[in-house]
Amino acid sequence: MVLLRAVLASLAILAGACTTSSAAPAESPFAPSSPPVAAANSPSPSLATATVTVGPSAVPTHTVQPADGPSVARLSAEGGDPVTGQLGTYIWHDQGSDSPWLPGAPIAVGRGEPLTVRLAPATSVAAWQARIVPADTSGPTGATLLAKGSGTPRFDAPRHGAWTLEVHLVFGDAAGDASYFWRLDVR
């Protein structure tokens, strides 16, 4: 088992190295633009989660935050394993990325179950809002507000069904804001 883990870890590292070296642009738009420097030609080494990355165009990619972007958000029910949300549109200091409404990372929860979103690395949240639409809806039109507040987002799971949950966070210290998505399977 230990050997298997070691092999998988090695493969993961190798895969990460391959994808980043082959898929990175000549210059990153998130790198300083003037003057171009050598460091700007390389992807940042500080991806907060190592799960993945930019893949070839024909292959779906998976959730991971960009270098020097908003924190990773993990949603968990009481006692359950946290699930990392899909990072959508965000502003982070003087950079930002525009994404569509996302389908969300799958998570199964119980009806009315208390849910909590935690950030890694921990980041202050000035305000937040959680809203849902039926799963497979392509946008926020008609969304139902679940809850809003400040600080750590905590709210109850909605009624039975399949939902896309968007949690929009406004970070403290004017750091920016971001939307995260989960696909809730409420039993």
């Binding site: 998130f30 990355t53 165009s57 779906p60 502003i91």
Partner: protein
């Protein structure tokens, strides 16, 4: 105090304070107001920002055209002294295209480095994401439903570069077309998928941050600026048939949350002088005061024959985002006629 001018009964107003616009990043999601502003400051007023295509990641021709047109859209519809954009092959601000960046799910992204620089990036046509396959309408010979208009997305990105954060829509998104800088851009054929002009709530923030093009330009309809109208006169007591100089002065109220618009003189508007006879409660329009070459001032001279009250009135216009105001009342006492008086005809 709010910037927005929508009446409570017409739209579900919520208390988003002006400070949110002045402050860097907004509290989310609650009302129809000018776009929030990004932190990091602004470029110079009407500063020319050039860009070039990123070496090795040059966009295809159709996307280049869309970006150039979006730069023109931004310049033409900024309704303010926001920075302008233009192509220059020697620029240090690259715009790229391809597979590499914008996070995992982004279709386009930007950086801004005030006061000199910015970058922009567009993901490649045909890329498969968790959310689907990215299709740029401009890359299709016959655009299909679900494609993104690259010109609209590029205008959104140029808006970010200026200073704009995403507009906060109503829950039903009925106000979607009030801004092109959106958290979730729409795809063909949904309303707003191909907006090629800034919306009023985009230009509202651009005006707050960069000021109007001229002092007689119109204020964005997404604003609801309070104005102050005063009326000064050359004399409060004159002889019969004496001449009085009236000068109305119209300006935006002083308010730090109005940014560069605070205390702006407002020129080239319609300001009326009204008169009320002593003992009457009814005001009557006397004359429309012509705007002078000095912005905000509306002077005229009138010969008066009887004592009366006067005030200036600026009615709330329907085509811009300022509120009407009425000046304080001034009384001008006119002495009785002593020579060459007109005949009084009394009813019998």
């Amino acid at each position: 105090m709010k910037l927005s001018r929508y009446a409570p009964g017409r739209r579900p107003r919520v208390a988003v304070v002006l400070a949110l616009v002045a402050a860097s990043v907004t509290t989310p999601v609650l009302a129809h107001d000018p776009d929030p502003a990004l932190s990091g400051g602004t470029f110079g007023q009407s500063q020319a920002l050039e860009f070039r295509w990123r070496s090795g990641s040059e966009p295809p021709s159709a996307i280049r055209t869309a970006v150039l047109e979006a730069a023109g859209d931004s310049n033409a519809t900024r309704a303010s002294q926001a920075a302008t954009f233009g192509y220059d092959s020697t620029s240090s601000n690259p715009i790229g295209y391809g597979s590499g960046t914008c996070g995992v799910n982004g279709l386009a992204c930007f950086t801004r480095t005030v006061p000199t620089g910015f970058t922009m990036w567009f993901r490649e046509h045909g890329r498969v994401f968790d959310w689907g396959t990215l299709r740029w309408c401009q890359m299709q010979s016959s655009p299909t439903n679900g494609c993104y208009d690259a010109e609209t997305i590029a205008l959104d990105e140029f808006g970010h570069v200026e200073v704009l954060n995403h507009h906060v829509n109503f829950a039903d998104e009925s106000d979607y077309t009030d801004a092109v800088v959106q958290t979730y851009s729409r795809t063909r054929p949904k309303t707003g998928w191909d907006m090629h002009v800034y919306g009023p709530c985009d230009t509202a923030t651009l005006q707050i941050k960069y000021d109007l093009p001229t002092l007689s330009s119109l204020y964005s309809r997404c604003l609801g600026l309070v104005t102050v109208l005063t009326l000064s006169i050359s004399d409060t007591s004159i002889p019969y048939a004496g001449l009085v100089d009236f000068t109305a002065y119209l300006k935006v109220a002083t308010d730090t949350s109005y940014g560069r618009l605070s205390a702006n003189p407002i020129g080239a508007r319609t300001v009326r002088l009204q008169r009320r006879a002593i003992g009457s409660t009814t005001w009557a329009n006397l004359v429309t005061l012509p705007p002078s070459s000095t912005a905000g001032t509306y002077p005229t001279s009138l010969r008066l024959y009887s004592t009366a009250d006067f005030r200036a009135v600026f009615s709330t216009p329907s085509n811009e985002g300022v509120r009407g105001d009425t000046s304080p009342t001034v009384r001008i006492t006119v002495a009785p006629c002593t020579a060459n008086c007109p005949l009084e005809i009394s009813a019998s």
